[in-house]
């Protein structure tokens, strides 16, 4: 029988998925209203991966994310206030407004942030795992990467190193069928990136990335394996981003039909359906949950924008090198 989350966990998981979805919708709205500058990469449609990974791990496990990092950051428990503030470039943001949308980082929540150089976060996560192992910790590091990133040499080098050094790293491929406009079918020379695990002597599995319970179960399994055997693991999740790649994407590279097919498998709708079938939650409860999260988003942003706070350029420049006090540490 398929794995089922217990009621409490199921409710918190749905709640997290909705927070991710509504957070991103709020971001989208703010961008269309030109409240924000720069660009952003939404992951609407991929919430089952985001809500299925970190919650299945120990909170002390570390993650290294990608440019598409909002969901992972929420799943690690960051405050939406600090996240929105970061998007707005405010000094009360996660990184004081220095990093923005592509670099959400929250060290207190063991989120080491992301590389916006596609694939380059993977060796970093691998190195974190190396030091976790050396220091005798039981924690692991998660290296998120996409189908597009899978073509980067750095990932090959990291998987080989993680295997020969037996490092506690979970390689988590978030396969959403495209890297920008490039279809994985044309760019990735294997049907399943998980199959590449064998090339490195790394255990691997492919899972439906729109089924949050399946993701949760696979990650639990992978983490147990990593902790028990002291070896890496490669998990491929198959999903789809409903949103465009970034702000200005006309999505010419895919068909309306394909989009519609995937929309049938909206991970939130699928999970809600299940919870209703299992009578763990009612439609009305869901509606009110959704509304309360939406209100929280709106209020948070409104409050933030009423009180914009920014670093001075001197303060910002001060983070280029360690200060004298840092050095004394």
């Amino acid at each position: 029988m398929a794995f089922e989350l217990d009621k409490d966990k199921a409710l918190s998981t749905l709640s997290l998925m909705l927070r991710i979805r509504l957070f991103e919708e709020k971001i989208e709205e703010m961008f269309s209203n030109h409240v924000m500058h720069g660009t952003t990469h939404l992951a609407i449609g991929q919430e089952a991966v985001h809500a299925g990974v970190s919650p299945a791990l120990d909170p002390m496990d570390w993650i290294v994310t990608t440019h598409r990092c909002h969901g992972h950051t929420l799943a690690k428990g960051s405050s939406i206030e600090e996240m929105f503030a970061e998007f707005l470039g405010y000094s009360n943001g996660l990184a004081y407004g220095l990093g923005g949308s592509m670099h959400l980082i929250d060290v207190d929540r063991h989120n080491a942030g992301s590389s916006a150089v596609v694939g380059s976060g993977v060796p970093i996560a691998t190195g974190m795992a190396l030091q976790l192992k050396r220091s005798g910790s039981k924690q692991l590091a998660v290296a998120f990467f996409g189908d597009g990133a899978s073509s980067r040499g750095a990932i090959h080098e990291s998987m080989n190193i993680a295997s020969v050094m037996r490092l506690p790293v979970l390689f988590l491929c978030e396969h959403n069928m495209y890297g920008m406009s490039a279809c994985a079918r044309d760019m990735v020379s294997t049907d399943s990136i998980a199959h590449r695990g064998a090339s490195y002597g790394i255990e691997s599995r492919m899972v439906d990335g729109n089924d949050v319970e399946a993701v949760f179960e696979s990650v639990t399994h992978a983490a147990d394996y990593i902790r028990e055997h002291g070896k890496p693991y490669l998990l491929e999740t198959r999903t789809y981003r409903f949103s465009g790649h970034s702000k200005n994407d006309k999505k010419l590279y895919r068909t309306h039909e394909e989009e519609q097919q995937w929309l049938q498998r909206d991970p939130i709708a699928l999970f809600e359906q299940r919870l209703i079938e299992r009578k763990q939650m009612s439609v009305i409860q869901m509606e009110s949950l959704r509304q309360s999260i939406k209100d929280e988003m709106d209020t948070t942003v409104e409050q933030l924008m009423n009180n914009p706070q920014e670093l001075t350029i001197e303060e910002a420049a001060g983070f280029t090198y360690a200060s004298k006090e840092d050095s004394a540490r």
């Binding site: 220095l98 990133a149 040499g153 910002a316």
Partner: protein
């Protein structure tokens, strides 16, 4: 004459050269229906198809390595790398291979490759998508390095770059929408020649890339102070048009060097040295040489902070005025 934006000027150069020679091939990520990250190649796929536009996986190192191999066999690849920051990934093929193939083969192989990539800030894309990394390459013999600013130059130099026998790095600023009137007819601009974008007698503002616009604005405002500034747009960084720099400085006796890359260790040092080591230019100097460059820090995401990094016309004007006070 016709009006073209920077984006259109590059696109037109690519299209004309691809039409002229079907060994001219665009290689890179999302070049096809997506039109490239900055829409420079938009529409070209319809005309030239997959034989001349090759979309690649996210593999910057291999994309450039593959292009080198293809160039050795007669292709004339024009590689697009989405952001100049990813030149870090292409450093090995460019520095250790493209730049040295002719030498290592005693002239029997050549690598007629163009490496196109946009540099600089202003897009709110934070520290890993806004750098000006030309200094990674300016010390490498075997490479030619262009960094033009205006549509007419972009077009004429792109065409020369494509026809060149050696590897050419072609850096683009991100003000792709800026327009200019350019000639209707076919033309080339030679690599290695600076252009005086504004004539002047009192001070030479020497620059390249996006800050050419800032320098022109500063020069315009300096007229109010009765200072006649000459704006030298280098267009090519390697080989550098030393004669143009020397001639201008000998005439004006004052020099301000400007670029967007951080000051310390930037290409401005080479320009200053070109002046300071030249007996005639050195003797002509009425004041120290000044530099106005990017702040020495990574680019912050915050919009206001980001805008403070590159040289402003105010900073250029202050530097010029200081030269007249000293």
């Amino acid at each position: 004459m016709k009006k073209l934006s920077c984006r259109e000027a590059i696109r037109e150069a690519l299209a004309e050269e691809m039409l002229r020679d079907d060994n001219v091939v665009l290689i890179g990520e999302d070049l096809g229906c997506y039109g490239g990250c900055f829409q420079v190649t938009a529409g070209l796929f319809e005309t030239f198809g997959p034989k001349q536009i090759i979309e690649t996986p996210v593999s910057e190192e291999a994309i450039v390595g593959v292009s080198i191999g293809a160039a050795m066999m007669g292709m004339r690849p024009v590689v697009e790398i989405m952001y100049g920051d990813f030149s870090t990934l292409a450093a090995d093929p460019l520095i250790n291979h493209a730049a040295k193939m002719r030498f290592l083969s005693a002239g029997k192989l050549s690598v007629p490759l163009v490496y196109r990539t946009p540099m600089g800030s202003g897009t709110g894309a934070a520290a890993q998508h806004t750098q000006s990394l030309e200094s990674m390459f300016t010390n490498i013999p075997g490479l030619k390095i262009l960094y033009p600013s205006m549509p007419a130059d972009l077009k004429g130099l792109m065409k020369s770059a494509i026809r060149d026998q050696d590897p050419v790095l072609f850096f683009e600023h991100k003000l792709y929408g800026v327009e200019e009137m350019i000639p209707e007819e076919d033309y080339l601009i030679p690599i290695g020649k600076a252009d005086i974008k504004q004539k002047g007698n009192d001070v030479s503002i020497i620059t390249y890339g996006k800050t050419v616009f800032t320098a022109l604005e500063a020069a315009r405002l300096l007229e109010d102070d009765d200072i006649s500034a000459e704006v030298v747009d280098l267009r090519t960084l390697r080989p550098l048009d030393k004669d143009a720099i020397i001639a201008s400085v000998v005439k004006t006796g004052r020099a301000v060097v400007v670029h967007e890359a951080p000051l310390f260790g930037g290409f401005s040092g080479e320009i200053v040295a070109t002046i300071a080591e030249h007996p005639e230019a050195f003797r002509a100097l009425k004041a120290p040489v000044a530099r106005v460059c990017g702040l020495d820090m990574p680019t912050p995401f915050n919009k206001h902070l980001e805008l403070e990094l590159p040289p402003s016309h105010t900073r250029i004007i202050d530097a010029v005025l200081t030269l007249f006070r000293s």
